[in-house]
């Protein structure tokens, strides 16, 4: 549709324009304009005091954390969970050296109480026999010596004069 070239295409029907101009009579309640500025100042001040969204979220989180109470059963539950997890890790972990403890366990279970434990059997006893070679030689008056695992031992202190 072509728009007429005249400045105001609606000029031919001025009735509509006159009707629309009647909208100017619709005015806000009395005193509205006078109070508007003070309300504007009030809102501006309120805006300044209003915290930002980040601050609001942080405050809410802090208050939530402060009010948060751990129930006693949670500690028991956490302990039980830790025990179960430890057992599970010990049973599942293939890298653990299972041979040695098993051997010790078998040896303990199969050995009677009278028998010497395996760990003690592996200890080497210290020989306390008298050095007979030195004892047989009467010409030499040497102090009494003992052999400690093949080495001669003397009761005299090397620092004695």
């Amino acid at each position: 549709m072509n728009i007429p070239n005249e400045p105001n295409a609606f000029a031919g029907d001025e009735t509509m324009q006159r009707l629309l101009r009647l909208k100017r009579y619709e005015q806000p309640p009395e005193g509205y304009y006078e109070d508007f500025l003070s309300e504007f100042h009030h809102r501006q001040r309120a805006e300044l005091l209003r915290p930002s969204l980040t601050t609001l979220l942080l405050e809410r989180f802090a208050s939530w954390a402060a009010e948060f109470r751990v129930p006693a059963i949670a500690y028991a539950g956490a302990t039980a969970l830790a025990v179960v997890a430890s057992i599970g890790i010990l049973q599942v972990n293939p890298a653990a050296p299972t041979g040695a403890p098993a051997a010790y366990a078998v040896s303990y279970s199969q050995t009677p109480f009278s028998q010497t434990p395996v760990t003690i059997q592996k200890m080497q006893p210290v020989s306390l026999r008298v050095n007979t070679q030195a004892e047989g030689d009467s010409t030499r008056l040497l102090p009494t010596a003992y052999l400690l695992q093949g080495r001669s031992a003397n009761h005299e202190s090397p620092l004695s004069f």
Binding site: D13, M16, R21, L22, F36
Partner: protein, 201 residues
């Protein structure tokens, strides 16, 4: 004290002077601009929203936005154009967000309307058979305006109700004058269909 200040400092008529003072950190200068522009911007927003409460909230937001960004105002357009531009854009954005059409909250027309010859003619007060009340006329006008698109309503409000010339509307909306005339033409045609009962024989 305030009285003395007002006596010493008469109201400044020039917007640019008040803008400069506001940009220089004088909030009282912006207060004068608020007082000066509240009635005309109220009319603009009110006739686009048909709701007094929405208009009040939007007008507060418009001045708050203007105050925050007044340092970016370089004076390429007049302050009036700048303020109208902020108002129209914020109102159109608000209307787009307001999906559900709200029940209008219309202000009562001033009592002086009864003496307006256009009102007398429109309400057929000379013909009691066709006479309608002020509120009937108000509701019919509002219903007709609400059928327009946001862009068309903005143009009709500025041109027909507020009397802003085409060239100024073009600057406010950042469109050509031809587009302003085109929008007015289609808006008027639509209004004629809605308000045909008031058309002169």
């Amino acid at each position: 004290m305030a009285r003395m200040t007002s006596e010493l400092e008469p109201p400044i008529n020039d917007d640019s002077e008040l803008v400069s003072r506001t940009q220089g950190g004088d909030p009282s200068a912006f207060d004068q601009l608020v007082i000066r522009y509240t009635p005309r911007l109220y009319g603009l927003i009110y006739n686009m929203t048909s709701n007094h409460e929405d208009t009040n909230d939007l007008l507060q937001d418009v001045f708050a936005k203007a105050y925050r960004s007044i340092c970016s105002f370089r004076g390429k357009s007049s302050f009036s154009t700048w303020m109208h531009s902020i108002s129209v854009n914020m109102t159109i954005n608000f209307l787009k967000k307001r999906k559900r059409r709200q029940h209008p909250s219309l202000n009562d027309p001033d009592s002086s309307i009864e003496n307006d010859p256009d009102f007398i003619a429109a309400t057929s007060q000379n013909d009691p058979l066709n006479a309608i009340s002020i509120h009937e006329l108000q509701n019919k006008l509002n219903a007709a305006l609400s059928r327009l698109s946001h862009d068309h309503r903005a143009v009709v409000t500025m041109f027909d109700i507020q009397g802003i010339p085409h060239a100024e509307i073009a600057k406010i909306l950042k469109i050509s004058e031809g587009t302003v005339r085109s929008r007015l033409f289609y808006a008027h045609r639509q209004l004629q269909n809605s308000l045909h009962e008031f058309k002169n024989p």
